[in-house]
């Protein structure tokens, strides 16, 4: 297992490297850079601009810049923001917890909503309950989450004269406020994810229910409860977990929009602002962190496979 994890981590680093290069090259291939952006209207001379570019290391070839960046990043130095000059690592450390908390809350919410509904749907296959839940869950996939966020916010402020308190506070600082701030965006993100979980749970449970060992369990005289929760659900978890791993990408993507709407200082909103401001080191690092998060979640997913399915554990 340890060897497996190490191997996955090495793979992950490899993947992250490709990703970094990809982002790096695209970002520099498009027009616009910080220096011109900052100085275009200033009447600064070309020499002044070049000097500034040199100061920021933007005068080298893309490959040279990439090498520089990677060498430093490997040593834990992610550079400084080209605008504020702040250390990128610090900015990321400040913002990462928000996004992580948001992601975790959404995943938990989505699981809490998705799995029970999925199981009910499977057990009541082809009844009206099933059809209803099916339409309901597919609808979850069909509503853009930014949309949901806006509606929630407007409706709440109008109907209840309440919105989550502004000014982000971390969970450690003030759990009550923090939860109030996080719950709405988490719900918006969770809806889509839970919709996929419902569908996956339903089909996985159905498939397992058709398998032979379920017949064995029934032949033992087991109650339906045991058949479904002890055997069918447990065996379906592998596919549900895989799904969560794959959907985490969508979830993290959704944070961009929802963090903007709900004024949460997370990585998602950071990345959006930084792309527009051509703040290369931040974009670079934030994408890297997102990628790493995605890979990490998938690693956790794979490790969990082993926990769920002993066939994988021993391999």
């Amino acid at each position: 297992m340890v060897e497996y994890i190490i191997r996955r981590l090495i793979f992950g680093i490899f993947v992250l490297f490709i990703m970094t290069a990809f982002i790096f090259i695209i970002m520099r291939a498009v027009p616009g850079d910080v220096v011109t952006l900052q100085l275009a209207n200033s009447g600064a001379t070309a020499e002044q601009m070049d000097a500034m570019k040199a100061e920021m290391g933007l005068d080298k070839s893309i490959l040279g810049q990439l090498t520089d960046w990677v060498t430093k990043a490997v040593q834990g130095d992610l550079g400084n923001s080209l605008w504020s000059g702040q250390e990128v690592s610090q900015i990321i450390v400040d913002r990462l917890p928000v996004t992580i908390q948001l992601a975790i809350m959404s995943i938990i919410l989505a699981i809490l909503i998705g799995i029970p509904i999925g199981v009910i749907s499977a057990v009541k296959q082809n009844t009206w309950i099933d059809h209803f839940l099916k339409i309901f869950s597919v609808s979850g996939l069909s509503i853009p989450n930014f949309w949901l966020g806006l509606v929630l916010l407007t409706v709440l402020s109008l109907a209840l004269n309440w919105i989550p308190p502004l000014g982000f506070q971390s969970f450690a600082e003030n759990p009550m406020v923090n939860l109030q701030q996080m719950i709405l965006p988490a719900i918006c993100l969770a809806i889509t994810l839970s919709a996929s979980i419902v569908r996956m749970t339903r089909s996985a449970v159905l498939e397992v229910l058709h398998s032979e060992f379920i017949r064995t369990v029934r032949a033992k005289g087991a109650r339906e409860r045991i058949v479904i929760f002890k055997h069918a659900l447990r065996n379906s978890l592998v596919s549900v977990i895989t799904l969560i791993g794959l959907q985490v990408g969508y979830l993290l993507g959704g944070t961009v929009v929802l963090e903007s709407i709900f004024a949460l200082p997370g990585l998602g909103s950071l990345i959006f602002e930084s792309v527009l401001a051509r703040d290369y080191p931040i974009v670079q690092s934030a994408v890297l962190v997102f990628g790493a998060m995605f890979l990490l979640v998938n690693l956790i997913v794979d490790v969990m496979y082993g926990w769920v399915d002993p066939r994988i554990r021993t391999k």
Binding site: V30, P31, G32, D33, T36, L37, Q38, L39, A40, N41, S42, G43, A44, T45, Q48, M49, A51, M52, S81, W83, S84, G85, Q86, I91, D94, L150, L153, T154, L156, S157, L158, N161, W162, I163, P165, L166, G167, F168, S260, I261, F262, A263, P265, S269, L270, E273, L276, A277, R278, D279
Partner: protein, 516 residues
Amino acid sequence: SSGSKNNETGQKNTNDGSSEPKSGGTYTILSPADPDMLDPHRQSSIYTHQLAGLVYNKLVSYETGPNVEYTDYNVVPDLAERWEVSDDGKVYTFYLREAYWHDKAPVNGRQVTADDVIATMERIINLPGHQASLLSEVESIVAKDPQTVVFTLKQPFAPFLNFMANHFMWILPKEGVEGQFDLATDAIGTGPFVLEKWEDNVQATFKKNPKFYEEGKPYLDEVIFKVVPDQGSRIAAFRTGQADTIGSLSPEELDQLIKTNPDVTVFEALFATQEQLYLNMKKEPFNDLKVRKAISMAVDRQSMVKAIYGGGETSGPVNPSLGDWSLPLEEREKLQPYNPEEAKKLLEEAGYPDGFDTTLMVTNGYGEQLVRVAQWIAEDLRNIGINAEIEVVEYATYFSERWPNVDYDMGVGYQTYFQEPDEWLRTQLHTNGARNWYNISDPELDKMLDEQRLILDVDQRKEYVHNIQRYVLENLVNPIPISTYYTKTPRQPYIRDSYPHASYGYGYLKDVWLDK
């Protein structure tokens, strides 16, 4: 005529004498975005300079107060207690008041000296950026004594005092200039509020400066500046009392807000800049004055600004927010009539009876309203046969490539918030203007632009500047001023003595107090 408008709907903004200002309270400002950095000399962003106004002072500033219009540009003392101008208009002597830096390391509350001013000015001159040009006419700066600074100019220069009041002229402590602390992420000044903490893109917290040079001020204990990117969220926050002010709203948004919060007060003011429709003079057919005039005539400015911004004025080459430096409203309207029939005729005369196809560049970096303006203008142009396809360009590309390199047919955009007619006119319209991104080259105009800088008498200069504007609207017609809209900013009803000014900086918050 008044080029500005400073109305309060609702009641009780000014202290009517019935109550004395109360100290205390927190004032929360919601903003759609954050300064990218705090260094005011490296950044032209409004967000940086608004916050700088809380922390820093300039040598001189613009007057604010109950009897001052939002757009009045009266230069008043700030860090300089008073100043003297030599008769030849070339030597300015500033006498510093007794003021102390904020009590933060490494400056630790020492007194402000001439050295600080000189260090700051040198920094401004040496850093690349727009601000350097503000001091381009300065020959030398010397400290006569620790409290006196003398500026010697190369020649008499009319805009000088205005430039000294410009928001780029925030005076920094020497230690900052020397790099003893990071000006990008920290700010130590002399202003009414002390920066306590700045979390990039989240919030900036300011505490009252107990040693502010104006006795008894500021009243507020704390100013909080929060970033809430989504407009809907900002409104919701205001509605639920989590914010004191949230920036300007569209008429529809304001209507809805007033429905739920009827006692909200609304501050209305002219926007500090204007939309301009600019044309690439090197390209056919925009090199033809008739075509430019036709385009200008085709745009229904009044209906546009009403429909999109809920109200505003036809603007001129100098933005009306600069008060009477701008042409009077009637004249602006007379010189830029809405007359599609006449426009069509002009086009015909120019040889385009059926109009032509072109593109209209716009960026969404300024928000959606400008994109709507572009759509409006395109529709107006369609009416006279010009088929302008809208090209929405990403902001960074727009601002660092397309616009400065004059890589467009037509474009519509906002100009930077200039505070001096010289900036409005000379940087944009002079053949060598730093912001002449339109391929304008008119030797006669260049001469006029150079001359107005030398006229020291204010009234005389105003007259001359008006003439230049008349000339521009008749003989150049590029960039075509469109409109300046009224900003409508909701405010919580308990806010008192808030007198904002068109120039940058939240410095006016020193007067604000909360009546609750």
